[in-house]
């Protein structure tokens, strides 16, 4: 009993001592995460100046970040914040900066070029934005010039929209049990191709809405081994455009991590579709699509919102075909800028190096999400 009381006293005293130590001499990283300046260092080099700026952006110390810029006279602080987080609600609105990386590009005695990579943690994964900053010496320290991209100006205009919309009324509880409910949309898998990759089995395919009504779709696949025993079941999750208007085609991508194609005897595909209220707008043009060869193979292009409303999040899905027309890969990218009417926004979808050589053609589709609207 006496020993226990002594131990408790020692533990309490040690806890108090550690709290005092942590408060008076906090760890730099801990201070940084609380919004303090713990990780900030002297801007005695171009890299340090950009690193400090990145840390201030990460901790959302907007005023300090803005004040540290060499060219802040060219724009206001709200414009600086808007350039980083978006002028309209978008993927970054509900995300934060996970970390930043700094890469020196060029340096002289009085100026330098430094690349800043900002890794945003979004609800659909990491989104990376890259800015090349010019850094200038100012006395004994360096200051970065922010390459501001000002708010795109949409000229005053009237865009006539006679958009189509489908609404659905389902059967009610008082209906005769034999009365039909509205028929689910008829969808069809028009292509399906399993591929063995290092990370497991991947099923690539395309799904067509062959009906005259919009469909909310998804695809589930089950790998079957010997004796039709299921190996695993996976769904397309977000690697699909879930809203299909009549006669629209979406790619789908289903991953089975760790699975081996040699153990698979057959695959059971289960497309799912249900009626959903939908609008035929917005129409988004995918312009200047280009397959960039390896190294750094990618599909790049621009999205142009041809409608009059702001599209908050756009999801680009690329389907890549070989010379015989078979699907060889499907990749996607979320665009983290809102799409303003008639304003081009670039995208760049990474393609695995080993597959880039096989690709002969591609097809891109866009799924769009508008705040306050349906899918």
């Amino acid at each position: 009993m006496k020993t226990g009381g002594l131990l408790a006293g020692i533990l309490a005293a040690a806890t108090v001592a550690l709290v005092v130590l942590g408060t008076v001499w906090p760890a730099r990283s801990a201070l940084a995460y609380t919004g303090g300046q713990g990780l900030l260092r002297s801007s005695s080099t171009p890299e340090a100046a950009v690193q400090n700026l990145g840390d201030e952006i990460r901790t959302q110390a907007w005023q300090r970040a803005y004040d540290s810029l060499a060219n802040k006279a060219q724009f206001t602080e709200p414009e600086f914040v808007g350039d980083l987080t978006g002028y309209y609600p978008n993927l970054r609105t509900y995300s934060g900066v996970d970390h930043v990386e700094v890469f020196p590009l060029h340096a002289s005695d009085n100026d330098a070029d430094v690349q800043l990579k900002i890794y945003w943690a979004t609800v659909v994964g990491t989104s990376v934005s890259t800015r090349d900053l010019h850094v200038v010496r100012n006395g004994d320290h360096w200051e970065a010039e922010w390459p501001i991209v000002k708010r795109p100006v949409v000229p005053p205009q009237v865009i006539p929209v006679n958009y189509l919309r489908w609404d659905v009324i389902y059967r009610g509880p008082g209906d005769d049990w034999g009365a039909q409910d509205v028929e689910s949309p008829h969808v069809r898998i028009v292509d399906m191709h399993p591929v063995q990759r290092a990370e497991g089995v991947v099923i690539l395919g395309e799904l067509l809405n062959e009906d005259v009504v919009p469909a909310y779709v998804s695809v589930t696949a089950t790998l079957l081994g010997d004796n039709q025993a299921p190996i695993g079941t996976e769904g397309s999750f977000d690697k699909i455009s879930h809203l299909l208007l009549p006669k629209q085609v979406t790619p789908f991508f289903i991953q089975f991590p760790g699975a081996s194609l040699s153990a698979v005897r057959s695959i059971r595909m289960t497309p799912f579709s249900t009626l959903v209220s939908a609008s035929a707008d917005p129409v988004i043009e995918i312009d200047n699509q280009r397959i960039n060869p390896a190294p750094g193979a990618s599909l790049s292009g621009q999205l142009i919102n041809q409608s009059g409303q702001v599209v908050n999040v756009a999801h680009v899905l690329g389907t890549f075909y070989d010379s015989t027309g078979h699907v060889v890969w499907i990749a996607d990218q979320y665009v983290d800028h809102a799409l303003l009417p008639q304003t081009a926004v670039p995208f760049d979808i990474h393609i695995p190096e080993d597959l880039a050589r096989k690709i002969s053609s591609e097809r891109a589709v866009v799924a769009s999400y508008t705040a306050g609207g349906s899918l």
């Binding site: 062959e210 005259v212 208007l245 006669k247 085609v249 035929a280 988004i284 043009e285 995918i286 699509q289």
Partner: protein, 290 residues
Amino acid sequence: MRTRAPWLLTGVAALAALPGLAQSGGLTLPNKIEAGAAFSIQSSGTGKGTLYIAGLGQVLERDVQVGETVQFPAGALYNAGHYMVVLTSANAPAETGAFDVVPESKPADISFLARPSRLAVGIHGGITGAVYLLDAYKNLVSAPTPVDFQLTSASGETQSRTVNTRDGAAWTEMDSTAKQGADNFVARSGGISSTRVIGQVPGDPCGLKMSAKPAGQQVQLETDPVRDCSGNAVPDGTIVTFTEAYNGTQSTVDVPLKRGIAQVEMPAHPGATITVASGVILGNQIRWER
């Protein structure tokens, strides 16, 4: 007094299973009655007793004077099936018997299942209709009964079939016609009918064709009115994909049909090849030289 207490069923069955409770000729029962019909049961003997009538889903219990005729009004027994009768009294062993309650011979209701509620035009055997004939008490009318099926399209074209029910059910197949519209699918039997509406919608676009003309720095693309192979107008909202390929790059745009046509403006690149498609149906191709 009518009760549906499940314990009564068990109790009646137990009484009947007791040794020595052999059936006697003391009960006079009908061989069978129609559901909902009035009937009577005559017993022999004297004293007070209790009469149980138990079947699937329905149990009756009556305090009776043994030796008198017990009258049951119309609607007393309405669930079709086999019923067991047990008469117990203090002065004599229990007496048992059985009779059947059969559905009414004339249907009073039709349950009509028609599938699908929406399908493309020109599909052979694409529409199915299944009918269950029920009497006024929702018993399946098991006697063979003719059912007339009739599918009438919006243009007045009619398909008819007559099918006899088997075990209370009948079904048929119909073809979707070449014209889009709402078809009335009617099932009739014994003077009653039930109607379902089948939506016939256009099929895939057929002969998809577009034209191009300059519009400033752009090229304006517009399809002819899009129709299926039967000449039905493909509905608005159907997606038409325009693809423009030039110098190793391409532009695509998915455009919904509006007022029967799809139109869009795309960049005008001299030498570009422009194609149009809807779903898996390809249209014509244009080479833009201006």
